[in-house]
C-alpha cells in the first residue's frame, strides 16, 4: 500500500510569513498532485508535478517534486488569510492511475 505522509499536520501563522509543508512517501510515485480544500467544499486541484526535481509556481505558491519522486513540498510566500484551508497531496495508485491515494492533509490557518 502506498502511503503519503504530510507534515506538519497543523500550522497557524501570521499574515505575511513564509511557510513550507511536506508530502513524503517510501514509494515512488509517477506524479503527485496538491489540492486545497475549504470547509464544506470538495478539494480543488492546484498543481500536478510529473518529473523528478520539477518545480512549478502558482502565484505565491511553489511546488517541488523530489528527485526520486518520493516526496514533494509546497512553499507559500507572504501568506494571506485567503490561503487558509486544508492542503492535500495525492498520487495515483500503482497500476491504477485513476485511483488517487491522498495524504491526511495539512490544516493551514493564516491570521490577519
Amino acid at each position: 500500500t502506498q502511503l503519503l505522509e504530510q507534515s506538519p499536520q497543523f500550522l497557524s501563522i501570521q499574515e505575511g510569513e513564509n511557510l513550507t509543508v511536506y508530502c513524503n512517501s517510501s514509494s515512488v510515485f509517477s506524479s503527485l498532485q496538491w489540492y486545497r480544500q475549504e470547509p464544506g467544499e470538495g478539494p480543488v486541484l492546484l498543481v500536478t508535478v510529473v518529473t523528478g526535481g520539477e518545480v512549478k509556481k502558482l502565484k505565491r505558491l511553489t511546488f517541488q517534486f523530489g528527485d526520486a519522486r518520493k516526496d514533494s513540498s509546497l512553499h507559500i510566500t507572504a501568506a494571506q488569510p485567503g490561503d487558509t484551508g486544508l492542503y492535500l497531496c495525492a498520487g495515483p495508485s500503482t497500476g491504477a492511475n485513476s485511483k488517487l491515494t491522498f495524504g491526511k492533509g495539512i490544516t493551514l490557518s493564516v491570521r490577519p
Binding site: 480543488v44 486541484l45 495515483p92 491504477a96 492511475n97 485513476s98 488517487l100
Partner: protein
C-alpha cells in the same frame, strides 16, 4: 458552467437504515469517482466508473456499500444497514476521461451522520 453537484448536502439517519447519496457529474465527463472523507483524514477512494460500468470498486469497505451509474451520467451510492462508523463526508468527483492527466473535479460532498 455547472460543476459537480451532490444531494443531499447533509443526511442524518439512524443505525440500521438505508441511505442513497446522489452525484450529478459535469456534463460530458465519462469518469465518475466516489471517495469517503472521515474527520481529520484525506479522501479515501471507494469506487470509480467509466461510463456505466464500475471499473474499480476495490475501495468499497464491505457489501453494504453499492454504487450505480445506469445511464453513464448520474450516480447513486447506496449504503444498507448503516453503522455509526459510516459517518463521514462522501465526495463525488468527475473527469473527462479516466486518464490521470484529466483533472478530477470534486463536488461539495454529502455529510452523512449515523446516530
Amino acid at each position: 458552467g455547472a460543476g459537480v453537484s451532490q444531494t443531499p448536502s447533509n443526511k442524518v439517519t439512524e443505525k440500521g437504515k438505508y441511505v442513497e447519496l446522489r452525484c450529478d457529474p459535469i456534463s460530458g465527463h465519462t469518469a465518475l469517482y466516489w471517495y469517503r472523507q472521515s474527520l481529520g483524514q484525506g479522501p479515501e477512494f471507494l469506487i470509480y466508473f467509466q461510463g456505466t460500468g464500475a471499473a474499480d470498486d476495490s475501495g468499497l469497505p464491505n457489501d453494504r456499500f453499492f454504487a450505480v451509474r445506469p445511464e453513464g451520467s448520474v450516480s447513486t451510492l447506496k449504503i444498507q444497514r448503516t453503522e455509526r462508523g459510516d459517518s463521514a463526508v462522501y465526495l463525488c468527483a468527475s473527469s473527462l476521461t479516466v486518464s490521470f492527466t484529466d483533472t478530477q473535479y470534486f463536488g461539495p460532498g454529502t455529510r452523512l451522520t449515523v446516530l
